[in-house]
């Protein structure tokens, strides 16, 4: 009798286990997906810049320094949210930031930079999102840390938080600066 009663407790136990995981899951961020590109050279691209259509930039321009690559768009609300932080990283901490402007109209992208400040060295203008596909963009904004050899070392999906910038990105940049 006792053992057969226990069987009827099984559903409850299973639910409690699943429920505990769900509770833990609430505190996690599923957007921090690993990128298959980590450790790999940045994907090849060759795009006009947002600022001057005649000037072209590409993957070879990411060689030679440790830098952040930020993928953004003027229509993206969460980009606006992280933008002040990027400006601060660039001005206060001297971080080199390159932008890839994703599926945006040129004048709107430029207006966005005039309004919010321009933390970027240059912005590649990825009008049709083709470079975005190469980079495996889930959604804007995304931020990558690229080392001197032009390899991707870190990826963040979604708006950058101050916490993450201070605890992970800045130390990582400092560490990569040491590498030769």
């Amino acid at each position: 009798m006792n053992r057969s009663r226990l069987v009827f407790l099984l559903p409850l136990l299973m639910f409690l286990i699943i429920g505990a995981f769900l509770a833990v899951g609430l505190g996690l961020n599923p957007r921090l997906l690993p990128s298959p590109l980590i450790g790999k050279p940045v994907p090849e691209f060759d795009l006009p810049t947002l600022e001057q259509p005649a000037r072209r930039v590409g993957h070879q321009d990411l060689h030679g320094q440790v830098a952040l690559v930020n993928i953004w768009a003027s229509w993206c609300v969460s980009c606006r949210q992280e933008h002040p932080l990027l400006v601060e990283l660039s001005e206060r901490h001297g971080v080199t930031i390159f932008g890839i402007n994703y599926k945006d109209a040129r004048d709107e992208g430029l207006a966005y930079l005039r309004r919010g400040g321009n933390p970027y060295q240059w912005n590649a203008h990825d009008l049709d999102g083709r470079a975005g596909i190469e980079w495996g963009v889930y959604g804007t904004p995304e931020t990558y840390v690229v080392d001197r050899q032009g390899r991707i070392r870190y990826k963040h999906v979604g708006p950058l938080t101050r916490e993450r910038a201070e605890q992970e990105i800045l130390p990582l940049i400092a560490e990569l600066e040491e590498e030769t």
């Binding site: 009827f8 409850l12 639910f15 769900l22 509770a23 899951g25 996690l28 599923p30 999102g129």
Partner: protein, 670 residues
């Protein structure tokens, strides 16, 4: 002003739900007739107030009342009327009000159609639904108030998400919610049965039409969602095993198992405690689905309203509802176990095997959906489980399931000789498998083992179902007159099973033979695919009610004759400037041709994506039959006659609870 009325009505509805959830329960326990009767009054009151609240929210959308924050963030003065009405459920807050309204609607239906049921049973069922309603309405009012005022009032709204501005929004969510919420009825009936200690044939027969109706709505919702995802690019096609899709599929699998288990409980008194468990699980899974979709614990391409704070509330709700009901189950179910005996080869045996397969399939989907979350929570890294896992696990499970679906109705209750049944079916099975191997070769010119097996099983199911119908008629003197004698429940089953055969055929063909090409075309160029010649005649700008679009003109011809023109569009909505691609589809009996417009490549050249999907329409036709079968079965006269039977069964609220009631005459030997 309209916002305040709506909010006040919502508050009154919550109070009504509180009354509905408590007073009848106490009344039933203490045997106070007037308290028991309160359930019906409270149900009506709750429904009326929720309807008022819902109409207020809709009115605010229609009249562009941007002083309501929810309207301002989900509408715009240029939004067409159709999307202003359906925009009410286009976001988190409004869809909760719809949820609540539907729950109240189902409660009202239960209250209206429960006249012949023991008063105490009906009161407890309604009270359980009232308690669920309390949870949903307080969640709405306290964390996600749709009537939140906005000041200063903006000149215009931020518009509905362009992805949602689609006829799919009008149909898919209401159907899906009807299914999700409808599962609350068999859940509440099961809980009332547990409290009462009464899980007999009458109980099962009362539960069946509700379970069938909810199941049919849920199936319709899933099929509509699949159809919407099919023609919307970027959602991974008609089925992607995305968490949100799985969230709706899991309760459907549980409800399917429930329907079949209920049949055995009603006819033979078998599987009682298992049936109750399925009734609880089906509704629990629909709540879990709500949690997964709205809390943002899993990433999905379809998640539109995620917020971790709300997630906590839903998790608490989940803990109370699911934890509470499983505790009650652990406490009361041992007393109501059934002792019906049957041979492995029998109708019960096949229903049991069906339940096992459906449950394993359900567990596979649940594990695949939650696995990334488990690993992440344990700090073992982040992964995503993709379609390869689900295809590998789900496909092989479906083969025996479809086989059993054809076999089950041919078996007799309790016992059947294995030699007799194999003598009767072997030629049908062999013929189905042979035709299954040959048919893809004839139609498409090639095949694989799984494809032939899939087609063979679909043919087997169709042939076995039709043979069963024939055998039911053949022994009559006038077979056609016999058609009218068969109960609606039988026709419902037949329709759904034939629908499953059509669906399996379609899925097998699409999965094996679909073709997809990315091409670039200059005006005047042609492309050949699936026997069609597509000529690209350039792109021109067009304007919609609230968007600008580039529209391509593609002339489609076959064997040198023009058959149609396809006009895929690339839209940019005025307010939220995200670009959207609207594909153009030509649907035929044996295939779909779909063209999506990509990006300009310079010099008038554009990139295009062309799909040729054999037998795609069979998916929608098969799903439609499955759903139709559910509604036909739910309309069976027997379920309405139940009222008379139950009345004879008598109502004795003072009956000692806890004791298992002996099975009625038609129940099995106990």
């Amino acid at each position: 002003m309209i916002g305040e009325i709506g909010q006040f009505a919502l508050l009154l509805a919550l109070l009504m739900a509180l009354v509905q959830g408590t007073v009848p329960l106490i009344g039933a326990q203490r045997g106070i007739q007037s308290w028991v009767a309160t359930a019906h009054t409270a149900v009506t009151g709750q429904f009326v107030f929720l309807a008022v609240s819902y109409v207020c929210l809709t009115w605010a959308f229609i009249t562009h009342d941007f002083s309501v924050s929810y309207v301002a963030s989900h509408s715009n003065t240029n939004l067409p009327l159709m999307y202003r009405i359906s925009g009410v459920w286009g976001g988190h807050e409004g869809s909760l009000v719809l949820w609540g309204l539907m729950l109240a609607g189902w409660s009202l239906a239960v209250s209206r159609f429960s006249k012949g049921l023991p008063a105490v049973m009906a009161a407890r069922t309604l009270a359980i639904m009232g308690l669920v309603s309390v949870g949903i309405l307080s969640f709405t009012l306290f964390t996600s108030n749709p009537f939140e005022p906005l000041f200063p009032v903006p000149a215009d709204g931020r518009d509905l998400n362009p992805l949602l501005q689609d006829p799919g929004l009008v149909l898919h969510p209401p159907m899906l919610y009807m299914g999700y919420v409808g599962l609350a009825v068999p859940f509440a009936i099961a809980m009332a049965g547990l409290i009462d200690g009464r899980l007999d044939a009458a109980w099962a027969r009362w539960s069946r039409p509700w379970a069938l109706t909810a199941w049919a709505f849920l199936g319709a919702g899933i099929a509509l969602g699949s159809w919407w995802a099919y023609y919307t690019l970027g959602w991974g096609g008609w089925w992607f095993w995305d968490p949100v899709e799985n969230a709706s599929f899991m309760p459907f699998l549980a409800a399917t198992a429930l329907l079949h288990s209920l049949a055995a409980t009603e006819k033979r008194g078998a599987f009682r405690s298992w049936t109750v468990l399925l009734a609880i699980s089906a509704f629990s899974l629909s709540l879990l689905g709500t949690f997964l979709v709205r809390s943002g614990v899993l990433t999905s391409v379809h998640a539109f309203a995620t917020d971790p704070d709300r997630g906590l509330y839903i998790l608490l709700l989940l803990a109370v509802v699911v934890g509470g009901s499983f505790s009650l189950y652990a406490w009361r179910a041992p007393a109501v176990r059934s002792h019906a005996r049957f041979d492995p080869v029998s109708r019960e045996g096949s229903l049991l095997a069906n339940n096992v397969l459906l449950t394993v399939a359900l567990a596979a989907v649940l594990v695949g959906t939650l696995y990334p979350l488990f690993l992440d929570a344990l700090g073992l890294g982040k992964i995503s489980v993709g379609p390869p896992y689900f295809d590998a696990v789900f496909g092989p499970l479906m083969v025996p399931l479809v086989f059993l679906t054809g076999l089950g109705p041919l078996l007799r209750w309790k016992r059947m000789s294995a030699t007799e049944i194999s003598r009767r079916i072997w030629h049908t099975l062999v013929a189905a498998l042979i035709v299954g191997a040959v048919l893809p070769l004839l139609l498409m010119g090639s095949t694989t083992v799984m494809t032939s097996l899939g087609i063979g099983m679909a043919l087997w199911l169709a042939a076995a179902s039709l043979r069963d119908l024939w055998s039911k008629l053949a022994h009559r003197r006038r077979p056609l007159a016999g058609l009218r004698k068969l109960p609606a429940a039988y026709y419902g089953m037949l329709t759904s099973h034939l629908g499953l055969a059509v669906l399996v055929f379609g899925i097998t063909m699409v999965n094996t033979f679909e073709s997809e090409r990315d091409i670039r075309m200059a005006p005047g160029q042609t492309h050949e695919q699936g026997g069609y010649t597509l000529r690209f005649d350039g792109v021109r700008p067009v304007q919609g009610p609230n968007y600008d679009a580039q529209e391509a003109l593609i002339t489609v011809s076959r064997d040198g004759r023009q058959v149609t023109e396809l006009r895929p569009q690339k839209r940019v909505y005025w307010v939220q400037r995200e670009p959207m691609s609207n594909a153009a589809i030509r649907t035929r009996f044996s295939h779909d041709l779909m063209v999506a417009l990509g990006n300009p490549m310079g010099g008038g050249t554009w990139s295009l994506r062309v799909y040729h999907n054999p037998f795609q329409a069979w998916l929608w036709f098969g799903s439609g039959l499955i759903v139709l079968g559910g509604f036909i079965a739910a309309a069976d006269r027997r379920y309405r006659l139940l009222n008379v039977v139950a009345r004879e069964g008598g109502t004795d609220p003072a009956r000692e609870s806890g004791a298992s009631r002996p099975a009625t005459a038609e129940g099995g030997p106990s």
